[in-house]
Symmetry: C2
């Protein structure tokens, strides 16, 4: 992919091999091992021994001959084996020479704990650069520096000093990779409290070599892993993230990411705090949506989503049934479901009749069903209600809300377990203030249990969204993507640089099937008048100059001209004003163009982003785009179906349906246009920097781009 | 206050007396007591005995002569005392007669557990009505029916069967009242887990007599209570809520409410599930904002806010300092702070210099400060950083984020405790995955401890908002409210009913100082022409008829007329179309009015709400109000300062600053206008049903209401 910074220059097979060696080493060497097992350079050995790592452990430190009963070698070359992975727990100044030694030995991978690199400023950045060069030359692949390392809980690999490893770190089907050590540790500790087992825990730190996506890619391929999750502070390599997302969809391993830096203040803090490049959050969000990455707002929501993903089979659709013991909880969930676009259908008359007989009179037998607290005295009320709802053809997934029930845990766990065994349709339990035994019992029976009314709906919504998006992505790969137009039409035009002349830009875009207004370049008054005569009705005159981008500021635009005198006056006035505004500008003449009307104004934009490449935007024009920032982005190229999603993301989308008597807008034609722009952007990505179709006027039967700015390098 | 449904008809002194008797009874009688102490009618006695209630307990049930060593009386009249409160644990059918007996005895208050009332449908509603009548006649004040009752943990009053009481229910400075039994129990259980002590726990159920606000009012007056919190499913009595809010501000006891039913689906579910009247959520939200009620989105956020309110002194302003051991957490908090309008200032150069010396090189010494994990080895890094930040004059409140630290709890608790003792400025700890001992230790030292980066900023933001709003409310009561115009100008006009004639409405509003366009009623072509001649420039003609509200639909509006022929044609055409549209309508003539222009269109509306009385709305006109629903509401009357808050709440408020070269709008003039409308609405509240000033055209120096609809009863 062009226009994207690719971080890793090494070949993919070697990369995969090195990461595998790092994640599942048969042998580990600790460079700078310490006998003080509570210190950073002592903790990995402590964990490896305590938690029963089965591979070989080698220690290197000239200060010791033995630590904890293991031989400690004065240097690497004294070891009569080639370890799969090295832990480097040495001062920053010794890291480069150590990497050289590891390279000489043939060790494929190293985890560098050491800080004192990019995170400390310019000096560290220099050292970091040197370290990467050394790593490349020596062939050693690096995780870090400035990281807590990793845990592979399946094989008891504890190449870390994280305090998370002080407690129980039982393995489980979640792979978790974090940019941040402290935040990553916090998330891991919260996962443990919820009985969510992490098979892998990796902190990537400064990511000078191996990045988040590359490491996650290998974790995802482990058959013991069902869901992968990440905490990000930025994205260095948009290409690798896209590849990871595609792989996650293909292997059906949901990818759940929390990324900080959503707004200006956060992005600023991110830039000053981390080595990561802060990316525009809107672009990240769009890419996530486009490729089926589930974005969790914060750490608790990430864990909520993991919980649901781990235990719940994909629902057939977005139709939610709710059963509660509290009308209030039902209301809160119904509200949240509506906000998130989940549907809460009415049950079939048969189901309602059945529930009317089951549910007490002071409950509610319609969706959301309120079984009331009576089910404690008579559990059949709950069991039968759930079964009726799960059997209802109107319902795709069910949430059951209850609370406390300290005295009834076994009864309820058995009840849910029976329901689970006898039903194919998915359900999720929301158990507020659940006793620990309840959570453990439900997990044992393969049932997700959430902590609150809003979080459970958020998580179910993520499951529904992922299921649907995955289905669409798998279909999209097959059928609906037209063949990519590989012809870079920009390359056929010579001499382009900077702002492309209007006539050329309009021609190029029209040639790609994009409906452009008719424009004529007039280099004299007579030509301008002639152009007006060829046009039906009033025209607009605009200065044409590669050196003037702000035409209005240059007083280079005259609107609504419909007689010869006005045209001539306007031509003269425009040329004079433009010359005064930019004396050195090369003035090509004046563009003559019919005045156009529409019911709505849209803007389609393209920009080349350093991280994500060619990104396409759509939004309503005028004050709405300025004040509301109501826009949708996607990475080019994309299908009409994706373009349709963009339109549906706009907060002002009701405008498409026609407001105040104006006719509804043809969204399909619009989606086609946006998709075409995305193909144009993709095929010209080696040269196109920016494209703005603004405004695009939309009427009942018309769609016309009346102005555009195209910039190339 | 007019136009409001007042629920309680009894006098306030008697009400307060009865509620006090209910909340802190010297003696309790259990009507329908059972020897089966695990049943609903047995559990109160079990709790009272187990938890050591010091008052007298009387039992009534003809089935027993003794329960758990206490005399059980066959009937109330056998008891030789007048209990303060009765618990009624009997079938619905026996409740009315029991209330009569209690009344005869002189028992002032009763808690009715029994279900089978309004919540079961029409029959229950009938019984409920009867119960209220009986209660009024007998003078017994009722909590319930269909409720879990109450706990006063200070005096060990357990008039409840809630499973919350199965565990430890230690008292504390929070008063909590819930509409819902199940949801209320869930919240109480969550509070217990967080070591937030509830002094009072009340479930009000169907609220046929005593309502949420009345009971909360008495709880709030208990000096042991510092904060009050409620869970609501609707509001029956807007007047009582406002009174409660004012009392909460006066006594400086923050009132934190979670109300479900934010959207359509939820409101529907609420209506079908609860006896409560579903109120328009936007109105509730506005009233909460207006009177300093803190609205929590859900139960967890409620507890977050309680935690901060309980332990943290009010900050002087909204300037937030952040100290973390994780850059990522800093970013997440900075983002959230920006979203919520908290400011994160740069520290003074002196502070930055000091922090540069304290914080390790790979941390960050600017706000947000990242002390890194190094503080574990050297706690002075954390202590000194916090002290520097608290001393910085740029900072009003500080959040400190850390995680896990299982091995360093005592050290950290002592560190925070010292800082607390030596500083006046407030700070809050956010400790992710905090060990239980950490939470207990910090609480003991009067320090709030939150669970995550986003929740802590949410809660601090609530504290900042409440502090500021309280200050403004206390000021507002004193100075800035102009004297209320007590003259109902509507009463001076005879014969008004339904839609008020345009001429009258415009005159009335202009008389109140509201800038209305000049309008003339023409009853003939000649008069219309005459009116046009008296106007500078083009005019608009509009049908005038009390029977036609949709003038455009009736083809009764002609715009932009500026010559005699057009005026005459328009007059004829309008009268003809209107007669065809509504043959029975009484046509008064045609309004002639100058065409007006503005840079922006606003709408100001008044409606009389059954719960909250006269409510005033402002929003941008046109498609924005239709599609975005971008409006702000307040209860009339209110000051210009409150009107200014409304303007600042609008999402499109950037339009006031001028967009695309248009001049900024005079917000002060606008605020004055809105406040004036609110006074008009208040003074005419006995008759005004609806008022719509739409549009109000706003230019650089102009402000003009060009049309209005006024409806009276």
């Amino acid at each position: 992919m062009k226009g994207v910074v690719v971080n890793s220059i090494a070949n993919p097979v070697q990369t995969a091999h090195a990461i595998k060696a790092m994640l599942s080493p048969q042998s580990i060497v600790i460079m700078g091992a310490s006998e003080q097992l509570t210190k950073i350079n002592g903790r990995p050995l402590k964990f490896l021994l305590e938690k029963g790592y089965q591979g070989k452990i080698f220690l290197v430190n000239p200060k010791y001959s033995e630590i904890a009963g293991l031989t400690c070698y004065p240097s690497l070359d004294k070891i009569d084996a080639i370890p799969d992975m090295a832990i480097i727990a040495l001062p920053a100044s010794q890291v480069c020479e150590t990497i050289v030694a590891l390279g000489n030995k043939g060790v494929p991978s190293a985890i560098v704990f050491s800080s004192g690199f990019g995170e400390i400023g310019p000096d560290g950045k220099e050292l970091e650069k040197e370290l990467l060069e050394v790593a490349r030359k020596s062939g050693v692949r690096i995780c870090g520096p400035n990281c807590l390392g990793l845990i592979n809980a399946f094989e008891s690999v504890y190449a870390t000093f994280s305090q998370y490893a002080d407690g129980d770190t039982h393995s489980g089907p979640v792979g978790f990779v974090s940019h941040s050590g402290a935040f990553g540790t916090a998330i891991a500790a919260l996962a443990r409290r919820r009985e969510i087992g992490l098979g892998y825990f990796v902190n990537t730190g400064n990511e000078i070599d191996l990045g988040f996506s590359e490491i996650m890619q290998e974790i995802l391929l482990d058959p013991r892993i069902k869901v992968v999750a990440g905490y990000l502070e930025g994205i260095k390599d948009g290409f690798a993230l896209k590849k990871l997302a595609k792989s996650a969809i293909e292997h059906n391993k949901p990818l759940v990411l929390t990324k900080v830096g959503r707004l200006g203040a956060g992005a600023l803090a991110a830039a000053s705090h981390t080595g990561s490049l802060a990316v525009e959050d809107g672009l990240f969000d769009a890419v996530a949506r486009q490729y089926g990455i589930i974005r969790a707002r914060n750490e608790e929501q990430m864990l909520d989503i993991l919980e649901v993903m781990l235990y719940t089979s994909p629902p057939a659709g977005n139709r939610l049934g709710i059963i509660t013991q509290s009308g209030g909880a039902a209301v809160m969930m119904a509200d949240r479901a509506e906000e998130l676009g989940l549907v809460m259908p009415r049950l079939t008359p048969e189901s309602e009749d059945a529930l009317k007989d089951i549910v007490p009179g002071f409950g509610a037998f319609k969706n959301p069903v309120d079984v009331t607290g009576q089910f404690v005295a008579n559990p059949a009320i709950l069991r039968d209600s759930i079964n009726v709802m799960l059997a209802d053809p109107q319902i795709d997934i069910v949430i059951i809300w209850l609370q406390l029930m300290t005295n009834h845990v076994d009864l309820l766990v058995n009840l849910f377990s029976d329901i689970r065994k006898n039903n194919v349709k998915p359900f999720v339990v929301c158990w507020v203030a659940a006793p620990e035994a309840a959570i453990a019992g439900l997990h044992k029976n393969g049932i997700a249990v959430l902590r609150g009314a809003e979080p459970v709906v958020d998580a179910v919504s993520a499951l529904v969204w992922h299921t649907q998006t995955r289905r669409e992505l798998l279909q999209d790969q097959g059928a609906s993507l037209p063949k990519i137009n590989s012809v870079d039409v920009l390359s056929s035009v010579t001499g382009l640089h900077g702002v492309v002349p209007t006539m050329t830009a309009f021609q190029l875009l029209a040639g790609e099937g994009i409906p452009m207004a008719k424009v004529t370049l007039a280099t004299s008054e007579d030509q301008a008048v002639e152009a007006w005569r060829m046009t039906a009705g009033p025209v607009v005159l605009k200065i044409e100059s590669q050196d003037i981008t702000h035409k209005t500021e240059a007083k280079g635009v005259h609107l609504n001209l419909n007689d010869e005198v006005s045209i001539r006056n306007a031509f003269r006035s425009i040329m004079k004003s433009a010359a005064a505004y930019a004396p050195k500008a090369d003035l090509s003449g004046v563009i003559v163009q019919q005045m156009s009307k529409g019911d709505a104004e849209l803007v389609i934009g393209v920009k080349r982003d350093a991280t994500f490449g060619m990104m396409v935007m759509v939004g309503f024009g005028g004050i709405l785009i300025e004040v509301l920032k109501d826009v949708a982005w996607r990475q080019a190229p994309f299908s009409e179906a994706i373009a349709m999603q963009m339109l549906n993301e706009l907060r002002m989308k009701a405008l498409f349906d026609g407001v105040r008597g104006s006719a509804p807008i043809d969204k399909f034609a619009l989606a086609k246009l946006i998709s075409k722009v995305s193909y144009f952007a993709d095929s010209t990505s080696s040269r196109l920097i920016e494209l703005d179709l603004n405004p695009i006027l939309i009427g009942e039967d018309s769609l016309l781009a009346v102005d555009c700015v195209m910039v190339v390098d």
